[in-house]
């Protein structure tokens, strides 16, 4: 049994209270909605793409601390990343959240989401924004539009 502070790490609480890149974007290339029907979490992602790179990203939404912090951390992390790179990174995050393997150290601040593993009902909260972004970036017609 882990302690609650493993889930609600300082980083998470901080990003929940002061989410980075929070706000609507007027001229986004992509507007992506993510919805978790089980808890009502709802986020909207705004993304600008330039030369296969996530050149701008922001989000708005309501949700629990985990989903807001995870969205905030994600925008911080993927801003400026190549699309391919961000997809690879999604896979790492996904693995961290859902597998039982020991966790790599190379995820930086995002390691703070690892505590979610112990709370299966919360995994969806942590992965909501990631799934939304990844789905857009990997879906066929989107790949076309970004080439």
């Amino acid at each position: 049994m882990t302690d609650l502070t493993d889930l609600y790490k300082q980083v998470i609480l901080d990003h929940n209270k002061n989410p980075r890149n929070f706000g609507r974007m007027k001229k986004a290339d992509k507007v992506i909605e993510g919805f978790n029907p089980l808890c009502g979490d709802k986020i909207t992602l705004y993304v600008c793409l330039k030369k296969n790179t996530l050149s701008k990203i922001s989000f708005i939404g309501t949700g629990c601390a985990i989903s807001i912090a995870s969205s905030s951390l994600m925008t911080e992390k993927v801003l400026g990343m190549k699309i391919d790179e961000s997809i690879l990174f999604f896979n790492k995050i996904h693995k961290m959240l859902t597998s039982n393997d020991p966790i790599n150290d190379d995820l930086g601040k995002l390691n703070s989401l690892a505590g979610v593993r112990e709370y299966p009902t919360r995994i969806k909260c942590a992965s909501l924004a990631w799934h939304a972004l990844n789905q857009t970036l990997t879906s066929k017609d989107k790949v076309i539009s970004t080439e």
């Binding site: 049994m1 609480l13 009502g40 709370y119 909260c125």
Partner: protein, 404 residues
């Protein structure tokens, strides 16, 4: 007042631990727990007399049929219906309402109006939305006040000669409001409308008398009244049920079949196609036996006392806000806590062994009304105690600590 220590012994699950803390189960509106008598009635059936019902001449079939039909009789007596023909076994309140929407709903014509309150559970909205879309009917919303009560004046004004059906919940699962259904039924009847009551949240907290209420349909969920999941019932006035087409088709619900013509069976079997949930029905019968042994006058007082205690303690926590303030409340209190999302509250109190529900409670229109996306909800049964509430309150203080 502490009769409940005996009561709690009837419910084996209440003795378990969660995260090394004793379980504090305050999620009864989602599903109540079962007394041992119900659990045993079901396993006894499985171990000793399981067989398909109605069509067998052998002993096991006789035993299971008798137990099955005696459950129907128990419900009939318990809710004071006129006849067993008025008791249809269903999967739960959702299916009960769907049967009425889909079968009775076929008699509605373009321009007819169906009225649904703003505080309904999705299962008492979406079936009506669907039939309205299909048959070009109007879906009218009965508004509620900020306190979380149906605005009776508005209801009376909205009623008119086009109103064909009124669908209201007896008790709100999101707010705990007990609606003045007897009065509303009377008013609706004066305009010639039929009334269906969603009784899912009422049955474990009060005695129901469908004859006194004079409702046309009453929907029940077994798992919210100490019976197993997968079983519920629909009460309907015989003369209405009689005129309704069947809902599902197959065995049990027919008298004779050939490729040209099929003759349907009489009530209640017309609405019970296929092998029924026999063990569920037997469990429901045992739950009715359990309910029959309760004194609801005492329980009402006991539960009201608990709710008042809960609400008092909640309001002592700064930043905590209770949603709705109905004069008559049963079972449920929903609340918000500063900017802390209900989901986080739920996880943190769970660590302390406390089970509450968080989210929209399948009642999004009411969330929209209060402009919230989710609430935390504590819901009680007669087996809960002041200690349960004290543990919840302490856990909520932990929430505050973490998010401060």
């Amino acid at each position: 007042m502490n009769s409940s220590s005996q009561t709690r012994k009837d419910f084996p699950i209440l003795e378990r631990n969660i995260n090394n803390k004793p379980l504090v189960y305050l999620d009864n509106a989602a599903s109540t727990q079962r007394p041992l008598s119900v659990i045993n009635a079901v396993s006894n059936y499985e171990m000793n007399y399981h067989s398909n019902v109605h069509r067998g001449v052998h002993k096991l079939s006789e035993l299971s049929t008798n137990a099955f039909e005696s459950s129907r009789n128990k419900i009939k007596n318990y809710i004071n219906a006129e006849s067993e023909r008025e008791i249809i076994f269903t999967r739960g309140a959702t299916e009960s309402i769907n049967i009425v929407a889909s079968s009775f709903g076929q008699s509605f014509k373009s321009g007819d109006e169906i009225m649904v309150s703003q505080m309904e559970h999705h299962s008492n909205i979406v079936p009506w939305q669907n039939i309205c879309k299909k048959n070009n009917l109007k879906l009218i919303m009965i508004p509620i006040s900020k306190d979380g009560e149906i605005i009776l004046d508005e209801f009376a004004k909205l009623l008119n000669s086009n109103t064909k059906l009124v669908a209201i919940t007896h008790v709100s699962n999101a707010l705990g409001t007990i609606n003045p259904i007897k009065k509303m039924i009377h008013q609706a009847h004066e305009k010639g409308a039929v009334v269906i009551i969603d009784g899912a949240q009422a049955m474990s907290h009060m005695k129901i008398d469908v004859t006194e209420l004079d409702c046309d349909f009453y929907a029940m969920s077994g798992h919210k009244m100490f019976a197993p999941t997968g079983i519920g019932a629909l009460y309907g006035k015989e003369k209405l049920l009689d005129g309704m087409p069947p809902y599902q088709f197959g065995g049990e619900m027919i008298l004779s079949v050939n490729f040209k013509e099929t003759i349907y069976n009489e009530l209640p079997y017309k609405f019970e196609a296929g092998t029924p949930n026999i063990s569920g029905v037997i469990g429901l019968g045992a739950a009715i036996d359990y309910l029959n042994n309760l004194n609801f006058d005492d329980i009402k007082k006991y539960e009201l006392n608990l709710l008042n205690y809960l609400s008092e303690k909640l309001l002592q926590i700064s930043g905590l806000k209770i949603i709705g303030k109905p004069k008559n409340r049963s079972g449920v209190i929903s609340f918000m806590f500063d900017n802390i999302h209900a989901h986080d509250i739920g996880t943190i109190v769970d660590k302390e062994g406390v089970a509450i529900r968080t989210g929209h409670h399948c009642a999004q229109p009411i969330m929209d009304f209060y402009e919230v996306s989710a609430t935390a909800r504590a819901s009680i049964a007669h087996y809960n105690t002041k200690n349960d509430i004290d543990v919840l309150i302490e856990a909520l203080n932990k929430v505050k600590e973490i998010f401060s």
